[in-house]
């Protein structure tokens, strides 16, 4: 079976806006993560990370927002298991907590 086409790659960026413009930016259809992570800066601005396509980032720049691209570290292995370490249910996982008072 042929692989389904993949979505357009998206980039990570940090938006910097004046605090009073925050509601405006939250109205835009942008991926802010599960919830927006807004950080107040000393200069009265706020920053928030976003995920967007290159064209979306360009639109934001044209609208006057400060957009700083985040260089995603390449080659990181976040580590997803290969195969099945629990052997189809014949092996049970062990918890990470320390068992006490046995």
């Amino acid at each position: 079976m042929a692989e389904p086409p993949l979505p357009t790659p998206r980039l990570e960026a940090t938006l910097r806006v004046d605090e009073e413009r925050l509601p405006d930016i939250l109205r835009r259809s942008i991926d802010f993560g599960c919830r927006p992570v807004v950080t107040k800066q000393d200069d009265g601005t706020v920053t928030l990370p976003i995920i967007a396509t290159a064209s979306q980032l360009e639109e934001l720049r044209e609208a006057g927002y400060s957009v700083q691209l985040i260089e995603t570290p390449g080659g990181i292995d976040y580590g997803v298991g290969q195969g099945d370490r629990f052997d189809g249910g014949r092996t049970a996982p062990r918890g990470f907590g320390e068992k006490t008072g046995r």
Binding site: Y78, P93, K99
Partner: protein
Amino acid sequence: MTYLNVVEVESALAGLAAAYPTLCQLVSLPNPTIEGRSTHALQIGDVSADAVLFTACAHAREWGGAEICIYFAADLLEAYTAHAGVAYGGKSFSASTVRRIVDNLNVVVYPCVNPDGRAFDQLHDALWRKNRNPASSGGDPNRVGVDINRNHDFLWDFRADFAPGATSTGTLASDDPGSDLFHGTAAESEPETRNVRWLLDTYRFTRWYVDIHSYTGDLLYSWGDDLNQSDDTTMNFRNPGWNGQRGVPGGYAEYIPAADLTTAQGAAQRVVDAINAVHGGHYVSLQSVSLWGSPGAVTYPTSGASDDYAYSRHFADCIKGRVFAFTLEFGYATSDFRTSFHPPWPDMQQIVLEIDAGMFELCAAAAPSFRWPWIVLFRRLWPWQIWDPLARFLDPIVRQILGAVRSRAQGSQR
């Protein structure tokens, strides 16, 4: 160690069910995913007891929720069997607490609500959020999928239910399939959403529900559509008179009984304190709609979210039990999204310890030290097929009588 792939999530649950057959059982969810995957939950303890439900990975890229649930279940079962307590860094639970949880509570964990999305994200590193339903995409890969956490039956029709100012908010929900917040073609249109509802329906004594997400280091309590208020009972999500006015500052605020708010805030703080006790973290609890710690400064209204749906059920249907519902956002923002959503595994292991301590704390708070035998018998034997229709029939009559009594009492006071 590494993150679990979707096959391993299922086989881990099967492994626990096989290793502890007298303490837990594998529960098959009725709705296979769009890509044909069947999923399971693990039910631990007595099904006739009050239940605590944990779900995770509704959002595909938030990988660690599955591991949090599975290793929590493993700790609980292992400690109970060994007559042991459990310690997570600076937070510990005694053997008697573990025993009380398993003996007097029904703990249900559903580690991977959205396995299609998880498999896609783990394969393609796409920062994918939604499920993989292509029905509304028109063949465009950028328009595939529905956001499960905007697909629940709570103020789902956001264009009618919310104020125009809120509907333009990029965080509320979207009817554009190209958006990460696409809410589907109808409430509960997605099999993943229906599976969560099925768990709430099936475990009718569910009293607590936590939907695990990442990442902002928050524990969020209801409501998520607007600010809370406890004065005006008519200002609520069921009242169509308030349609078109929700989700913007001023005017509408969602009714929550004062006692419920106190209970929800107290439980949230207790869980947060337990999480922070593990490694000295800085998780906070706040109302779901609040973006900042101070309520109302900048709000983040949501439509069709799981926590609001779970808590709203008993208002909407008299036979549903009251479920105190929360969204837990594990982890913290790092320098980039990928590391925030799925931290390197050694960091994730530390997060698992923290959140598992919070889950234990909630269960410890929920588990009674004693249950009346007649209540246990009542719950096991009561014919709900007869009682539920009868209760629905009697509810408006009882409400009418109570209302008449109340207004007569108020009249005689004047």
